[in-house]
């Protein structure tokens, strides 16, 4: 069975490109456009890894991580965002995120590589 990846991000263009790349490599990709949708999708699909954006309408990435921590859900999370102050990155690490990728510094292929590395851990 192919591994499941959940992308929680409100940027339509990027999400589309990323899904393209990931599906090419044989992953099953699910999409949510904000934190609320994201939490629902996690409970429904139980993904193997989550690619999480921070700045989203309705509910942002940090709130999602806090919720998951509260509920004890331990799916590996990689933050894929355009923000990234050291304080935030630190906090994310404390909340259990495995990595923080800034979108302008990584392209879809590199994100794919990180995902594969993480999934194979």
């Amino acid at each position: 069975m192919s591994k499941k990846i959940l992308i929680i991000d409100d940027d339509e263009i990027l999400v589309d490109l990323l899904r393209n790349k990931l599906e090419e490599s044989g992953f099953a990709v699910f999409i949510a456009h904000n934190g609320v949708e994201g939490l629902k999708a996690i409970k429904k699909e139980n993904p193997d890894i989550i690619l999480l954006d921070i700045v989203m309408p309705e509910m942002g990435g940090f709130e999602v991580m806090e919720e998951l921590q509260k509920e004890g859900i331990q799916i590996p999370i990689i933050i894929v965002s355009n923000s990234g102050q050291p304080v935030e990155i630190d906090l994310a690490q404390k909340l259990g995120a495995k990595d923080w990728l800034i979108k302008t510094d990584f392209d879809p292929k590199e994100v794919l590589e990180k995902v594969i590395k993480q999934i194979n851990k």
Binding site: D11, I13, L14, L17, L18, N20, K21, E24, V55, S81, N82, S83, Q85, P86, I102, K103, T104, D105, D107, P108, K109
Partner: protein, 555 residues
């Protein structure tokens, strides 16, 4: 019979009277002979009739020498004597006195006190006088001497009086000056008190024993405690609100409050720390020693409200964060789209199309780089740049970095080499990401500004004496013109010759590098000659475990 008896009685009486008279005469003779006063008997014509032995003694004349002579023969002051004679003969007073000068037989003279006692008959007519002459030489000398002494003493007294008067004047002057100085001091004191009382920051003054001496109204307002109750209390015993406790905690760690007041006096900069008041305010607490001579006689603590500054800082931080995010969103969109087009993920493209897309991609990357640089600069200026120091071997940073650029160097036809010191365990305290950034920046610059066929060598040397690692990147590229060299590490600077080359670079790279290296306790510099090449150097101090711990504390 009766007559014979009467005659017998008369002659007996006469004899008795004769006896008495001669007895009386003898008495007088004896008296005048032994009298220790010159005694002359003088007739109304002022002729000496008799002179006593004492006269002979003091005058040098024998009695026979002077009898029959006028008394004026023997005295100097003829005129005065004449008047005296008249006075005596006038009989007005029985006793007359005068001071004259007597000339002795041998010519010597002496001052004499002359006293004349007038002899009158029964009818009151003057028939002569007694003259006594007393040598008052000694008396006079004595008087003169006394007068001299008195005069001298008087002079001395006057002199002393003058001195005293002068001293008094001087004292008055000093008093006046002191008075004025005191008035000035009072004025200054009033000024200072006024300044302190109205100062917009809270001020607390501690004495040399670290006990609270005074606090101004603003300090009272901040601390929400009655300062008067705390005067004289030692810093560690200060009580009040929890804010007071927090501030005390901060101050106890402050260098200005250390025990050795002489070394405290050397503390130049005020150490500042932020304390939150608990109701939305933030205070900056700083302490600086008050110095007299070479030691600290007290400490001045200032409480500065930085609530507004913190708010602005937070707003700025938020703005930068949002701006970065907003700028990056479209840029990442473009980057990803272009990348996937170039990689052929979105369909087949022609060679020409690929070329154009690649150029656009590079251009976009430059934009991304600029946004990153701007973000970093803002963070440097807020002082929150270095985040994660670790003890690391410099070679573990440099070796993989150079390896990763070998391919690109080959593509550009440049020879890239790494030469390192033989020693392996040279540890530096470094934020790995940041130091990598610096090395990378220097290497990328070298690659950018060296033309095809050139050479770049990356050196890592151990400077034993300075106990530092020196990393240098030497290229054979375009170099930096002399007139541009001074400003190379400043913000937004790009040398003129580079601008002409149209290479990427925001101009922020070296500024950021300088900042990173210097906050690691190292130095960064370069040598360069136009068209010959440049060598960029940076050093980092080698640290032991202990030094690393201290370095972490400082950050």
């Amino acid at each position: 019979m009766k007559t014979m008896n009467q005659e017998r009685t008369k002659s007996e009486e006469l004899a008795t009277i004769k006896e008495d008279l001669s007895g009386a005469k003898k008495y007088i003779d004896d008296l005048t002979n032994f009298l220790p006063v010159s005694f002359l008997v003088v007739n109304p014509l002022h002729i000496i009739l008799e002179a006593n032995p004492f006269f002979v003694n003091i005058s040098g004349y024998e009695e026979m020498d002077v009898v029959g002579f006028d008394i004026e023969e023997f005295f100097l002051e003829k005129k005065e004597l004449k008047l005296f004679k008249k006075k005596i003969l006038s009989g007005r007073s029985d006793k007359n006195e005068i001071e004259l000068t007597f000339t002795k037989k041998n010519g010597e003279q002496f001052p004499a006190f002359v006293s004349a006692f007038v002899r009158k008959d029964k009818k009151g007519k003057v028939f002569g006088y007694f003259l006594t002459i007393t040598d008052i030489t000694d008396s006079k000398k004595f008087n003169e001497r006394i007068e001299e002494i008195v005069s001298q003493k008087t002079k001395e007294l006057e002199s002393k009086n003058r001195e005293i008067a002068e001293s008094r004047l001087a004292l008055m002057n000093i008093l006046e000056e002191t008075d004025e100085a005191w008035k000035n001091a009072e004025e200054e004191k009033e000024k200072t008190i006024s300044i302190i009382a109205n100062f917009t920051d809270g001020l607390l003054v501690f004495d040399k024993n670290d006990c609270l001496n005074m606090g101004n109204p603003k300090a009272e307002k901040f601390l929400r405690t009655n300062i008067n109750n705390l005067i004289g209390t030692h810093l560690k015993d200060l009580n009040g609100s929890s804010l007071v406790k927090s501030i005390v905690e901060v101050l106890l760690k402050n260098e200005a409050f250390k025990k050795d007041k002489k070394s405290v006096a050397k503390v130049k900069a005020a150490h500042r720390e932020e304390v939150k008041t608990g109701d939305g305010q933030t205070l900056e607490v700083s302490a600086v020693p008050i110095i007299a001579g070479k030691t600290s006689i007290g400490t001045l603590v200032s409480l500065h409200d930085i609530t507004r500054e913190k708010m602005i800082e937070a707003m700025k931080s938020e703005f930068v964060s949002i701006a970065a995010h907003q700028l990056r969103t479209p840029l990442s969109g473009i980057k990803w789209t272009l990348k996937m087009l170039i990689d052929g993920d979105l369909g087949k493209i022609s060679k020409d199309q690929k070329e154009i897309l690649e150029k656009t991609y590079v251009s976009n990357e430059r934009m991304i780089s600029l946004v990153n640089d701007l973000l970093n600069v803002t963070r440097i200026e807020e002082g929150r740049y270095i985040h994660k120091p670790e003890m690391v071997n410099i070679l573990d940073i440099v070796e993989p970095l150079v390896e990763s650029y070998k391919a690109e160097a080959e593509r550009k036809g440049i020879k890239l080499n790494l030469e390192t010191t033989k020693k392996r365990n040279l540890n530096v305290a470094a934020d790995i990401e940041k130091i990598t950034l610096v090395a990378q920046n220097l290497l990328e610059n070298a690659l950018k500004y060296t033309p095809k066929g050139g050479k770049i060598t990356f050196f890592v040397k151990h400077k034993v004496k300075a106990n530092k690692i020196e990393v240098s990147v030497k290229d054979s590229g375009v170099g930096v013109p002399k007139d541009q060299q001074a400003r190379l590490f400043t913000k937004f600077f790009r040398a003129a010759n580079v601008m002409r080359m149209e290479t990427e670079g925001s101009g922020l790279g070296l500024f950021i590098c300088k900042n990173i290296i210097e906050s690691h306790g190292g130095e960064i510099w370069f040598d360069s000659e136009e068209n010959k090449g440049s060598t960029f150097y940076f050093t980092l101090p080698i640290v032991t475990e202990k030094e690393f711990e201290e370095f972490k504390k400082k950050l």
